[in-house]
């Protein structure tokens, strides 16, 4: 395994080891480029994962302080936990459910397709589906996405069968077990899904793709990749010319270190990445790095989300098998006749009893809540993944008071639901309930959004440097050797789980960076 010197200014330094950073690190390492990945969290391997919701949450979740404001219910229910994402090697690819959907063509052209939406800061991506198709194909092959590359789809579990039966009764046509980066058969030295049912707690069989046990060891095997866990980056430094020169981080022992670098790629997710750029303000860049547009931290998106649980008069045992076991796609297209632009997916979801008690109706108590939990084994559940509107005022800023243990201001997340989001969520609640009622649900629950897992848009891609933070390669408009490699690049959110697009962008970005470095452009 490689070990690079802190003073080695020829390395690419990547901050974060999830879908973006972990993939970029391996791809660069495969091309012979020296890479240091700094990961804030610890390294927990498959054997360490725990089939227990609270214990696993304690092991993996990013629990460092954050603050919230805005009209979204998360700010009320979970004021210090705006996001349910991971602080560990592999990032949130340890926790993700595995859904791997390509954007539709028009979803890269949100502003053109949806037109002017009052209060929204819509913008077209500077790239098209045609640009992305070859990279999506590489990502699907890398991740072993079912329904692509001749890989069969997963078998449906009980929760899926309820969704499918109800959806078909309602007349929905595109209903299947999804495009999942979970092996339905052994592939790439990983086994097939054992229907364990703790996808969110780290896959104990390794059937689900995670950078932790795919990209990262593959990169390490080249001798070009070093991953440093428990390394919290606090500051990115630049030289007199304004190029970034290295990063300052606090290591596992609490010591401050300085890693020099030829290029820095930020992949700490849409809350930490803008926070780091803002915390890296300097005399030359008083508003933070790469922030001449003022867009760093803005246009925060999180998919509108929400869940519907239905109770039946007979058992379902929804927790058995893959958590996200199937999808209804008929509501995904843009059909403004429904009273909103954009669309949404309905995907099965289940929680164990402990998290169901915490999330079904946060703040609730008494028999309204407990009679629902009494029917836990008779429940089926789905999750709504809908495109939310980017708004300039939905943003990550530095909290003026709260600091982390390194003395750095924490991320403060402000989010107001847009009227389009509220209209879409209401529609999705109705349709989700109708699906379950069509097959005999006796009670349904429109469950509010959980802390965000799809955090997007806070360093968005734009053709014009005035409108966003990075160009079509994820390179910041302002600093040519500073890149963004995570979901914060997203110009708009689409009605898709974001990981496949993050991975495809990272593979593409590695190709671009290698070319630029080869040509000595950076």
């Amino acid at each position: 395994m490689a070990k690079f010197d802190l003073t080695d200014d020829s390395v690419v330094c990547i901050i974060g080891s999830g879908a973006g950073g972990g993939t970029l690190g391996n791809e660069l390492a495969q091309k012979g480029i020296k890479v240091v990945i700094l990961e804030a969290g610890g390294r927990h391997e498959i054997a360490d994962f725990i089939n227990d919701e609270w214990a696993s949450f304690t092991q993996l979740a990013w629990a460092d302080a954050r603050t919230t404001s805005g009209t979204w219910r998360v700010a009320h229910d979970f004021p210090n936990l705006p996001a349910w994402i991971v602080k560990a090697v592999g990032g949130t690819t340890t926790h993700w459910a595995g859904a791997s959907l390509r954007f539709q063509d028009y979803e890269f052209r949100a502003r053109t397709t949806y037109g002017q939406v009052a209060g929204a800061n819509l913008l077209d991506w500077p790239i098209t589906l045609a640009d992305m198709e070859p990279w999506y194909a590489k990502a699907e092959d890398k991740m072993g996405t079912t329904g692509t590359n001749g890989i069969p789809r997963l078998p449906g579990n009980n929760n899926y069968k309820v969704l499918e039966a109800g959806a078909k009764k309602l007349g929905y046509k595109e209903v299947h077990t999804g495009n999942m980066s979970i092996n339905s058969q052994p592939r790439h030295e990983r086994g097939a899904c054992q229907q364990i049912g703790f996808c969110f707690q780290g896959c104990k069989s390794g059937a689900k793709w995670s950078t932790l046990y795919t990209e990262i060891p593959a990169g390490e095997a080249t001798g070009n990749l070093e991953v440093r866990p428990n390394s919290m980056v606090v500051h990115i430094e630049h030289d007199a010319s304004g190029k970034v020169a290295g990063v300052v981080y606090v290591d596992a022992d609490g010591k401050t270190q300085r890693q020099k670098a030829r290029l820095v790629a930020v992949a700490g997710n849409s809350l930490e990445s803008p926070r780091l750029l803002l915390n890296s303000a300097s005399g030359k860049f008083p508003n933070g790095l790469a922030n001449s547009s003022g867009q760093v931290g803005r246009n925060y998106m999180r998919h509108l989300t929400g869940s519907v649980y239905g109770v039946f008069d007979k058992p379902v045992h929804m927790y058995r098998g893959t958590t996200m076991a199937g999808i209804v796609r008929d509501e995904a297209p843009n059909n403004p006749k429904r009273g909103f632009v954009g669309g949404y997916e309905l995907e099965t979801l289940s929680l164990g009893l402990p998290f169901m008690a915490a999330f079904l109706n946060p703040g609730g108590w008494g028999r309204s809540l407990t009679s629902a939990l009494d029917d836990y084994e008779n429940m089926a559940g789905l999750w709504i993944v809908g495109e939310d509107m980017p708004q300039e005022t939905n943003r990550v800023t530095l909290d003026p008071k709260v600091k982390d243990k390194n003395g750095m201001p924490v991320a403060s997340v402000h989010y107001d639901d847009h009227p389009n989001d509220l209209a879409m969520r209401a529609h999705a609640y109705r349709q989700g309930s109708a699906i379950y009622e069509a097959v005999g649900a006796v009670r349904t629950f429109p469950t509010p959004p959980y802390p965000s897992t799809h955090n997007l848009g806070t360093n968005r891609m734009s053709a014009n440097p005035r409108d966003g933070v990075v160009n079509k390669w994820g390179q910041t408009h302002d600093i040519k050797n500073l890149f963004v490699s995570d979901g914060s690049q997203f110009t708009s959110g689409a009605a898709c789980n974001p990981t496949l697009t993050i991975v495809a962008l990272a593979i593409r970005q590695a190709d671009t960076i290698a070319g630029m470095m080869g040509r000595k452009d950076i």
Binding site: F49, I50, N51, D52, E53, W54, P155, G156, N157, N158, K161, V162, E164, A165, K168, K169, C193, Q194, Q195, I196, G197, F198, K204, S205, K314, P315, V316, H317, Y319, R320, G321, G352, L353, P354, A357, A358, G363, W365, G366, R367, L369, T370, L373, D374, Y376, E377, V439, G440
Partner: protein
Amino acid sequence: MREVDKRTRVSRRVFLRTGATAVPAAAAAAAGMTIGAEESWAQSAMTLKPHTMATLARMARDIYPHDRLADVYYIKAVGGYDAMAAKDAKLAKLIEDGVAALDAAAQKSQKTTYVMVPWENDRVALLTAQEKSPLFQKLHGDLLVTLYNNPEVWTKFGYEGSSADKGGYINRGFNDINWLPQA
């Protein structure tokens, strides 16, 4: 479909081999511990008053009432406060003050202590009036873990807990639903 056996299983060895404080809730349930019996707290509560412990357990049941759970699961859920209060005077005061306030309200409207108010609806009305109180907030949040994060409780709800150690559900009923109408 493979259903979950929800019966409480108590091994006689539990009684023979473990001390009272380590008795699993299921075993204690079989032994007949109940919330109302303050004398049962008299032997175990060291810092908080036995009446306070009984009130906490009654509050726990009224906040998250499940008729399928014997009192002892609620007793276990709040049992840890006594030891915590021994080390944390602020917590001890928060709890004792909260219980005193609840009892004062109960005396005013029901002429008795909270624990002794016979109808759940009347106790719920008293709790609703104290929803913003530090004690209610603390119990409401803590119980999500102390009550529901208990494998003995999971079984009662048909939730089977960890699964990787049992080979997942691939051969244990992940797709065995048999009552759905044919699409």
